[in-house]
């Protein structure tokens, strides 16, 4: 089971009321390489992956949920007090019509989240390579959002999230090495 802790993993500050940035950030909320897809992908893969790497998948999945919460916080803060007029100007008019200021699991183009984002092949190497690719794609997405944003406080949190993708990628690469290693096999035969 899980316990909730009433804190963010990293402080999130937003300096300007700029709903346009919320529109971009939704990509990391409900997009193909977003935090929700990542969390669900790893959480789901752990049931069929060799025991040696289950701990890692569980922990990274759990951390991804805390990143989802950080992204939600950014979107919440960027839209909380924005007027319908401002949301319309930011390209969020169609979002407002459907959801008011409610968050919705969709990507930056408004495509709803889908289970097809979550790959599960059941082959440990295929799945871990998928995970490494997912981390690199999420890292790239953070880069492009940082490129579009001039909110220095927001970018500070986004740089943290980008760095986490790097560390996760490193760990998944190590997981592949662990599964390649044949040290245990010698004991078995």
């Amino acid at each position: 089971m899980w316990y909730y802790e009433k804190k963010l993993q990293y402080p999130v500050k937003v300096s300007t009321c700029n709903p346009m940035l919320a529109k971009f950030l939704i990509e990391q909320y409900g997009g193909a390489d977003g935090e929700l897809a990542a969390a669900l992908r790893y959480m789901n893969q752990r049931y069929t992956i060799p025991d040696k790497v289950v701990g890692l998948l569980t922990d990274i999945a759990t951390e991804e949920f805390s990143h989802l919460e950080m992204i939600a916080t950014m979107i919440y803060k960027l839209t909380k007090d924005a007027t319908p007029e401002m949301l319309k100007e930011a390209g969020l008019g169609d979002h407002y019509v459907n959801h008011d200021r409610a968050l919705f699991y969709q990507n930056a183009s408004g495509v709803p989240f889908t289970a097809t984002y979550i790959q599960a092949k059941g082959d440990p190497i295929a799945d871990l390579y998928e995970d490494i690719a997912a981390e690199e794609k999420a890292r790239a997405t953070y880069q492009w959002i940082i490129d579009l944003s001039d909110d220095t406080d927001l970018n500070d949190s986004l740089k943290f999230l980008r760095e986490r993708e790097i560390v996760h990628s490193q760990r998944f690469r190590e997981a592949v090495e662990i599964l390649k290693d044949d040290r245990d096999q010698k004991k078995v035969f």
């Binding site: 316990y3 909730y4 802790e5 009433k6 804190k7 963010l8 993993q9 990293y10 402080p11 999130v12 790497v53 701990g55 890692l56 922990d59 990274i60 951390e63 919460e69 939600a72 916080t73 919440y76 803060k77 560390v167 996760h168 760990r171 190590e174 997981a175 662990i178």
Partner: protein
């Protein structure tokens, strides 16, 4: 309603975030390096530090965790603002 958290709240919260971050990093590292004795020691030391910081924080600002991982005052103050996204 117009409750405002004092500067010490933010300071102490960040201290906890920092220690807990070190723990997360060491945890992921240990997931793939289960025999690194020094890292395990550092992990355990930081876990103790984090627990101490949280006892102090919770006495001032209320429970950090639900389902019995933190103690409650009267009235039940788990439900008090601010929630993490409001901070």
């Amino acid at each position: 309603m117009t409750k405002k958290m004092p500067p010490e709240f933010y300071k102490q919260l960040e201290e906890i975030q920092a220690i807990d971050f070190v723990i997360v990093e060491l945890n992921l590292y240990l997931d793939t390096h289960p025999h690194d004795y020094d890292a395990i020691q550092q992990f355990n030391e930081n876990t103790e530090k984090s627990m101490k910081l949280k006892i102090d924080f919770e006495q001032k600002y209320g429970p950090l965790m639900n389902f019995g991982r933190s103690y409650s005052n009267y009235p039940f103050n788990w439900i008090d603002t601010p929630w993490p996204w409001q901070v």
